[in-house]
Amino acid sequence: MNPYESHPARILEVKDLTPREKLFTLRFLDEELNEEFTFRPGQFVIVDVPGFGEFPISLCSSPTRSPIQLCIRKAGRMTKFIHGMKEGSVVGIRGPYGNGFPMEDMEGSNLILVAGGLGMAPLRSVLWYALDTGKYEHVWLFYGTKAYEDILFRDEILHLLKHGSAMNCTVKLAYEIESPSCIYLEQGFSDRVCRGVVTDLFRGENFDVENSYALICGPPIMYRFVIRELLNRKLSPGRIYMTLERRMRCGVGKCGHCVVGTSVSMKYICQDGPVFTYWDALSTRGLI
């Protein structure tokens, strides 16, 4: 088997999420592969546009649901190209790669999902997995976004804001730029929507730290503040999971672009990660 060979998949649906992000729903041409393909929340795939190149993207759908979905931000040449692709087009997919979140180990516990911006994409996979399986005590989602227009999966988030409690799920939203929509939202959910940064959302929440796990994904700057907040609440570094971004070219630990660390501990983000605990970050320099 050639690990660099991608499998053709048809784009079933392209949906605008924000001005910068689109949601792609894909299905492999090979029916058998559709049956077999499964993954863990937090894993990623490499998207292949033959003749243009490849790029890594987190799976943002849940393994409990099919077909697979990818949330792609227009950030460079490749992603700009795929944003121009229409329903019915065929791209290549290889993977899934990486370790993913240890969902089995966390069963029966509380999950505190902390997302910043595009970090919502991989955590959406965890969120839906947790809600679909119902194997987790309570799920919090703290989501920090820039403006109302930038809220990824806005319909789903608003739905959970309204009806989340019935599913043991608390969604909280922090926004930076004020707009009429945000103010309206804040008036409706004054206890869960506020202007500020994602760490502001921790206020007023008490977690049973012995029985909780935190799962973080967001821009590099966010980790420091969120982790400080969690450590202040005495959450163990081994219970803080985060998913990281690097230049994952091959996805299989050969090309060397995603290597971090020093002479005592070197990690391939694509194989050893992209999910790491805060303890991993303490023992591997350059991880965050």
Binding site: E5, P50, A75, P220, K254, G256, T262, G286
Partner: protein, 334 residues
């Protein structure tokens, strides 16, 4: 290990017998440096060389290679599996190939590398160190496996160590060229190895190196050298264990495209760049330190990622010396 003797007079016949396996590549002197080149006659090779510019990795991880070709809208795998002989590989380079094996042959196996590794017949050769070699400090000055045949120089021929079934078969098929090893040969072999062990001038203090470097993360020595470094990436290209690659799709004409991979260097600014322009190793200091950490990474089961061949020193235009950098870093901590 099985040992036989190849008398000097039979060397050329032995070389010619290897042509049955495939094309032979050996060390050839061009100008001031040596290169592994295609050779037809034994006489074209210079076996008393110290190091080639590009290491044997170029036969397995190509400077530029085609992975796929785009045909009728989808990819077709490329690759070549022609058998070939790599003649005159030094012990450090044999060790370097073992390090590459650990990466490329671990799951999932890289099929391009695996194919070439399987097609290669490796004949090692003994050498004498120059002032840049420090393989002895890293334990890579003698290869116990990773070759098919290994030739050790004797006054009247070669002591041949047989390292694989295929090596054994070649010796078996050409039995008339080989003699049994005598006590005198063993004494000569021992004398050569002792002379060689004493010839090393450079030494790397490898004990506790990984931890020492990690503790010296903020050492001013890194900065000093990073300023001197030209960030040209020469050291990456000539290093027998550097293996970072970049992949790109290239259109051959309006209808055909190929997906290629080529050597990349961690000294290039693009190496740690991700979508959106964020760079995880933005400064030359970050990149300089990263390479040293990578080379000095210690895997308890396999040792360091450096084999002490001295290529990075010889081909560094800024004259930066690997061992000296590490010694100074260590010194800055003591």
């Amino acid at each position: 290990m099985r040992y036989v003797k190849l008398p000097s007079g039979n060397f050329e016949d032995f070389f010619n017998s290897l042509k049955g396996i495939g094309q032979i590549y050996g060390p050839v002197k061009e100008g001031k440096t040596h290169h592994f080149r295609r050779v037809e006659e034994a006489g074209e090779m210079d076996l008393k060389y110290t190091r080639t510019m590009l290491p044997p990795k170029k036969f397995f991880v190509r400077p530029r290679e085609r992975l796929f070709s785009l045909e009728d809208g989808w990819w077709r795998k490329d690759g070549d599996g022609k058998p070939f002989v790599l003649f005159g590989v030094h012990s450090c380079d044999v060790h370097a190939l073992k390090i590459l094996d650990r990466v490329y042959l671990s799951e999932p196996v890289d099929p391009y590398y695996a194919e070439r590794r399987k097609s290669a017949f490796i004949v090692g050769i003994s050498c004498l160190p120059d002032e840049l070699c420090f393989c002895k400090s890293l334990g890579t000055h003698f290869a116990m496996d990773g070759f098919d045949l290994f030739l050790h120089e004797l006054p009247d021929g070669w002591l041949v160590r047989i390292g694989s079934v295929r090596g054994h078969e070649v010796v078996w098929e050409n039995a008339r060229l080989f003699d049994e090893v005598s006590d005198e040969d063993i004494a000569n072999f021992k004398a050569f190895e002792e002379k060689r062990a004493e010839a090393f001038k450079r030494e790397l203090r490898s004990e506790g190196l990984a931890d020492t470097l990690d503790l010296a993360y903020n050492s001013p020595v890194w900065k000093e050298y990073a300023e001197k470094c030209l960030a040209c990436g020469n050291c990456n290209l000539v290093c027998p264990t550097c293996r970072c690659y970049e992949v790109c799709d290239r259109w051959v004409d309006a209808y055909r495209a190929v997906r290629e991979r080529r050597y990349d260097s961690c000294f290039m600014e693009s190496h740690g760049l991700v979508a959106g322009g964020h760079n995880f190793r933005p400064t030359r200091l970050d990149r300089f330190r990263h390479r040293y950490y990578c080379k000095s990474y210690f895997d308890p089961s396999a040792g360091f990622n450096c084999v002490g061949c001295g290529r990075c020193d010889e081909f560094c235009p800024a004259g930066i010396e690997h061992v000296k950098v590490l010694d100074e870093i260590r010194g800055s901590l003591e």
